[in-house]
Subunit: 342 residues, 3 copies
């Protein structure tokens, strides 16, 4: 399995890397170590000391530097060894590989490709968990499955009616699997939009609404969903296009899928609501149903992965109409891969 | 490792597949799903949805059909998709592979070979657990070992004196390892018969009997044993052949060995006694000593498997006289394998 | 990974093999079984019955012999089958492979190479745990790491300042990583000697001493360390060579690294003190800090191994001055390997 390298990948939530502690992560099959310098800024290294390959994630942050705690080599943020126990001066060649790293939208992004192409301006726009007018919950799941199966899952929400029949699908109050959203190709992903008209605002509640559900699915694997409920009639009044006005209900979901190896992925997710509409109990309830849903996805996707790995190559999966968006995103990934390897 | 395909294989106990619940099993390395239709009859499918390979064993039984709970495709017992969410009519090509399946002798049998050859009349005769005049206990063990090592074990009961020295061997009151049973080739297996003469009916009990022990070991790997005790002298009176008359004691053992993959097997076992001679306490005692014995087999056979896998190919095992029956059964399997691949 | 075969390898502590009980061990990827004959002497066999490869370590010691508890074959110490259930006389070819085995220095040594070359006089001299004037504690750790990484670790103690910063390194009261010991090549290994001058006898204790630290690291992977503290000034008075006189403090460490397979090693360790200076509480404290230290080694070395296994071959580790002794020992192993395979 090949990976597109020249992209910003989400390696961790910002809060996963505290001050003073190196943290090991994996991206595209490579172990990296992240740590915060004295000013809180991030450095990313190969997670192996160039000397004898001990992991630097077992090392110690010292000021702006990271010390390997096997034989004591100390590395500056540019990767060079600046202290070598038993030697007056470390040789210049003694250095660890560094990776471009950016912190944005509450995520830590690393660039596993050509460093010369690592433009921070190309970090995709997301929501972040910092807006004081909003409240959030977040989580993380490690998957024993290829990132493509997670992308497929997130590009086609028809599965909410089945996988999440008693959790997120039910709670949404909507019927997903017979619906045909508007799917638009964008330069770096897809936009998938739809109105659910005149449906219960949530589960079996009596209040009825029109809901605008709009998400982008962006390279390398970001899911950025806005859900807004309006009085019944708003969909029609908006010409079935994007609504204006202030919603009755508003939720955002920010998720990332990062290949951490062949057959292994890391899934980070968060949900948020305007502070004004979300009591602590409401937030907790939404968090629990969402977490349960993502355990449901993990169960079926990992089972799918195990079958996928054992499948005789001549038995191809069969396409159905609901595959349109997953297929578009797969083609986008394939195209980028072809561009990089040509 | 190759497997004979054109045979009925035991996939599960009948009671392992309740109404309304799909159950995943494995046979010859292939994951299958079993479920009961509305009338209780069984259907067997490949355990993967043809769409995106999600396991149908995580699906839902709906009347006679099985619905994949990833994207909601619904399959009829003939394997065809009869409902495709988001589409008016599923394409005819959208179908899951079906397998011939038969329920008999309290077992569910599937046929992994050419369906045209799947004659239910060829299901081997066993005992079943249904006779109201008898009482039974059953169990199941998954082995990390090739089916051949289990076949070897069951074709040569001399191991009872050693592996089961303090369990089934002792309880049997008989000496197995110096005995030479009569071994007869049959079309689909072996028949192994012997008299134990003038021995304690059980363990160290004072009552002495002649015991007729007779079993068939039948393709693909069925162990079907009858044990009957008679007054001392019956063996001689029967000319050392099969006894007539009504035994003092009677026990049946019904077991199956199914290859579920390379280096993995599933072992189903049951024991039964005439209701008239087996109190609940007696049945429980016999069950416990039998279960303990099969844990002993599993321990040594799995250890043997691990050595087998690591053995340099030039170091062959050495044959001894007690290998006669295992060797005959191995040849029978090899012959069938050669027939199928020629 | 190749192994030098014509060497005595430490397979177990003497106390690991009690009378009357066969014990399975592994050496160079081969499972062996050790047992004590009636006179307490040791026999070593391949841990597989020649009949059907069941492990003899699940067998039973009977007098001087070992019986396989699968089908009851009994083997004499010369490896020949002397009892075959169901046969009057076992065929002469029915035998298990034997290995030269010696018990010395509280260790059980086996010789996996050419038996004709197995000279017990070539067992390296160690300390043993038997001297009544001394007290000891011992332990064992299984490593998921190649023996070479353990050899590296033990040939360069500069890591004490980092890996064991808060355990053995601190307790030693010495600074290891800026020190340059005297390293001498010996025929079968290395000798590494140094004085630590005018330092705290232990941790932060006020008493100051000169300490003589001298160890041999011997093929295949034995670490034999003597640590002796003297009044300050002794180092200089000894011309920085080995001290005479009676030390204030004395400790020995006896350790072995045995490859049990590719990527797997067994590490046996013991520490000892003169009975006169070691109260039970002192011994217990030294044991605890030592055990903690070896858990620290295991953590970093196994992490190193995992990186090593994933490293693209073109990314070689970088040598530093402190690698002198590990590199010498690696060359010695390579030379022996080349000698054996030429």
């Amino acid at each position: 399995m090949a990976f597109v390298r020249n992209l910003w990948y989400v390696a961790a939530w910002s809060h996963d890397v505290p001050a003073g502690k190196p943290v090991g992560v994996e991206v595209l099959g490579e172990p990296l170590v992240l740590y915060r310098r004295g000013d809180g800024g991030l450095t990313a290294f190969d997670d192996r000391c160039p000397h004898r390959l001990a992991p630097l994630s077992l090392g110690r942050v010292e000021g702006d530097d990271l010390r390997c705690m096997y034989h004591g080599l100390r590395f500056a943020p540019d990767g060079r060894c600046v202290e070598l126990p038993g030697s007056a001066k470390p040789p210049a060649r003694l250095a660890v590989r560094t990776f471009p790293v950016v912190e944005r939208w509450s995520w830590i992004w690393v660039w596993p490709g050509d460093p010369a192409k690592a433009d921070p301006a190309r970090v995709p726009r997301a929501f972040g968990l910092e807006d004081p007018d909003w409240v959030y919950r977040s989580g993380a799941l490690d998957y024993a499955a290829d990132y493509e199966l997670l992308n497929d899952n997130l590009c086609d929400l028809s599965h909410l009616d089945f996988v999440h029949e008693k959790s997120l699908g039910w709670a949404s109050g909507s019927k997903w699997s017979n619906d045909s959203p508007r799917i638009s190709a964008e330069d770096d992903g897809l936009r998938i939009e739809r109105w659910f008209r005149d449906h219960p605002i949530m589960g079996s509640q009596p209040q009825r609404v029109d809901t605008w559900s709009s998400y982008r699915y962006v390279l390398p694997g970001l899911f950025l969903l806005t859900t807004q409920a309006f009085p019944v009639g708003t969909a029609e009044a908006s010409g079935l296009g994007p609504p204006d006005g202030k919603p009755i209900f508003h939720r955002i979901d920010q998720q990332s899928v990062t290949p951490i190896g062949v057959g292994r992925s890391r899934y980070l997710w968060a949900l948020g609501f305007p502070r004004a509409i979300a009591t602590p109990a409401f937030l907790e309830g939404a968090y629990q149903v969402t977490r349960k849903s993502f355990d449901e996805d993990k169960r079926i996707i990992e089972a799918q992965q195990r079958i996928w790995e054992r499948l005789p190559p001549e038995r191809k999966p069969s396409a159905i109409p609901q595959d349109q968006a997953p297929a578009m995103f797969r083609r986008l990934v394939s195209q980028r891969l072809a561009d990089e390897t040509s």
